[in-house]
Amino acid sequence: MSDKKQIADALRGLADNESAMDVVEKQVEKYRLDLLRPVYKDRDELIGRVPSFWMVVLSQHSNFANFIRASDFKYVDCIDDVRVEWDEANPGNFSVNIKFHGLEGDFPAQSVTKRFRLVKVKDDMKVSGNDEDRESGDDDDEEEYERLLSDPVDVEWPVAYDSINPDKIQDKRASKKEYRTGMKTLFGWFRWTGLKPGKEFPNGESLAELFANDLYPYCVKYYIEAQRDLADEMSDSDNDDSAEEPLELPSDDDEVQDHSKKRRLE
């Protein structure tokens, strides 16, 4: 019995230990961003002196293109600067600032900042309904998860998008299709809140994370990839199919039995 108790205590101890690790990881993340802040600041300044830097980065990134409409690239090419800033106190919250230059008669130059905040939500979706057999008040064990939310931010849409610009659509009902199309553009993303799934910019959270975790941190790497002298050099993501990889025949001496050759190694 005391054996069992010992094991149970150890498992509970491991649960606390897991929480301690989470705390460490958050602290490390804060430390990391504090150290990177001045380095990013220098970098932003240097990038500003390289013509078309962000145009090159954003137009060559294949995943970015999956989020927005192809027609948006006319305005993506107007992006002169992208900056991501993380809150000092709470690095889960961040803002994405995008600077556009204008297009005569179609699109005004502007600088737009969209803020994202990480909020804790009780996981009421996974434990659906059936609250009867749970003591209320004892919420400690309820799973919490974190979600990114945002507020809509003002942005001036291109004139060419008038027909799909939600502010200019008079009869929302008759123009439902146009409204939805507008919401799928990069400009629709600035309205994203995270609170109306299915009705706003699709995967707005993932696009925010793409800026914060990929595009901004690795922009120089992407810039260089786009400048390669041989465009067709394989990048890791091109290798999309394992089925056609050549097979490795066993060497003659271990033809018969030889169990674990390398399979798929990380």
């Binding site: 137009s59 299709k177 939805r180 120089v220 089925a243 050549p246 674990s260 798929r264």
Partner: protein
């Protein structure tokens, strides 16, 4: 053979269509068939991917994916081209009736008419030789980001001449010694499913779906037609394999075929007790290749015979659930020597990298087709992408076929057939 006429002849008169022909840059790849350790490795295989998408009334409505492998230096010295038809699909959002079978046949006819030498120009080699190159002047993948930035800085100040003038030396070009003797093979794998190229399209009630038997009949009809029309009767044979079925039953599938040399089996050679590894090709995204990789991981590569391979394959998930699946192949010579050379910017868009190819293709295959909106969005995106990014456009096609005459013949022109092969694409867009 012009793409416009070829495809237009199968589309309904009075209707306007647009066709995207996307093609990868030819690239040398490892051999399709695993060679014995003792065999010399002097073959060269060049792989090129074709992707076709047909649009009607501002909707993407049909797509077809074909790989072409040209192999040089085979045992008998005869060049070979092998067409692997990997995926075809409709989504039911066309605003008029059209025959997907007719379009498939026309597109295969078109690909068969392409001169194999066309695929041998400016080929990306299997391994690039950078020797003799001053790497410090060349921005390639092996150069670190930091050093690449310095190279670019030097270039801007013109301290160094960019090594960009002679990029062609990083590609190979070859000719066919005896193009007349080129062997043509065509193969595909049939397995019914809800969708392959148009995710979620099964939810469209307008999409006609076929079971395994219907799908096999549909393909046999197309291939039989191509065999009679385009191939030398005497030197060509065609094969059908249905794992799990007796030869007698397999022959029954072939009873309506016109071509004389249909047999039970496959075109890859080997007897029942030969090791499967040497006779099963490594096609992309193909269950047979995946099974070979499984055998590799279980160290059974060299001691699994063809007979066991087919028996075990049948036990695998993709062949189970009493769904009729089959492997169909053609091997022979075409009546006319293939002579067509597609023209960049006119009828084909050749992507400069796998990345660009997928970038464009994803506008079609990464969309959701559970509602019509997907077909409309895919069309709008592909059109905008081509015009803004590639300074290009799809090929306009006028329908020329009088459908009224064949309307009664329900069997040969299914309403809106689903043509599905192989595995569904996984959606690239991130859904959280």
């Amino acid at each position: 053979m012009q793409l416009r006429e070829c495809v237009g002849s199968e589309l309904p008169v009075g209707e306007e269509f647009q066709l995207l022909q996307l093609q990868s840059n030819p690239a040398e790849v490892p051999a399709l068939f695993t060679a014995r350790r003792s065999a010399g490795r002097n073959k060269t295989t060049v792989k090129t991917q074709h992707f076709f998408a047909l649009c009607h009334a501002e909707r993407v409505v049909f797509a077809l994916e074909v790989y072409c492998y040209v192999t040089l230096g085979g045992r008998d010295g005869r060049p070979e081209r092998l067409l692997f038809v990997s995926k075809a699909d409709t989504n039911g959002y066309a605003q008029c009736r059209f025959s997907a079978g007719g379009v498939t046949r026309a597109l295969l006819r078109y690909v068969l008419a392409i001169n194999p030498e066309y695929y041998l120009q400016r080929v990306k080699p299997l391994k690039r030789k950078f020797s003799g190159t001053d790497k410090r002047k060349l921005v390639v993948g092996a150069v670190s980001t930091g050093n690449a930035l310095k190279i670019l800085a030097d270039r801007i100040e013109a301290l160094t001449t960019p090594e960009t003038t002679d990029r062609d030396r990083f590609y190979t070009t070859s000719a066919l010694d005896n193009p007349q003797e080129c062997v043509t093979k065509l193969c595909l794998f049939t397995r019914p499913a809800d969708h392959y190229l148009f995710n979620g399209s099964a939810q469209n009630s307008g999409k006609h779906r076929m079971n395994g038997q219907q799908l096999l009949d549909w393909w046999l009809h197309i291939l039989d037609n191509i065999l009679c029309e385009q191939f030398e009767q005497s030197t060509t044979h065609a094969c059908l394999r249905v794992p799990g079925e007796e030869p007698v039953r397999i022959r029954r599938h072939l009873r309506d075929c016109q071509f004389a040399n249909w047999t039970v089996g496959d075109i890859f050679g080997g007897s029942g007790d030969s090791p499967a590894v040497y006779h099963v090709p490594l096609f992309p995204d193909d269950p047979k290749s995946r099974f070979l990789h499984q055998l590799e991981s279980e160290n059974r590569l060299t001691n699994t015979t063809l007979t066991n391979f087919w028996t075990e394959l049948q036990e695998r998930q993709e062949f189970k659930l009493s769904v009729l699946v089959s492997v169909v192949g053609i091997s022979g010579s075409t009546k006319d020597a293939p002579h067509h050379r597609p023209c960049q910017g006119e009828d084909v868009i050749v992507a400069d990298s796998a990345k660009t190819f997928n970038y464009i293709k994803n506008y079609i295959t990464a969309e959701d087709y559970d509602t019509e909106e997907g077909a409309l969005e895919a069309f709008a995106n592909i059109q905008d992408c081509l015009s803004y990014r590639m300074n290009s456009a799809m090929v306009p096609i006028q329908g020329q076929k009088d459908y009224s005459q064949i309307r009664t013949d329900k069997k040969s022109v299914p309403k809106e057939p689903t043509v599905t092969l192989l595995q569904p694409r996984t959606k690239i867009k991130v859904n959280k």
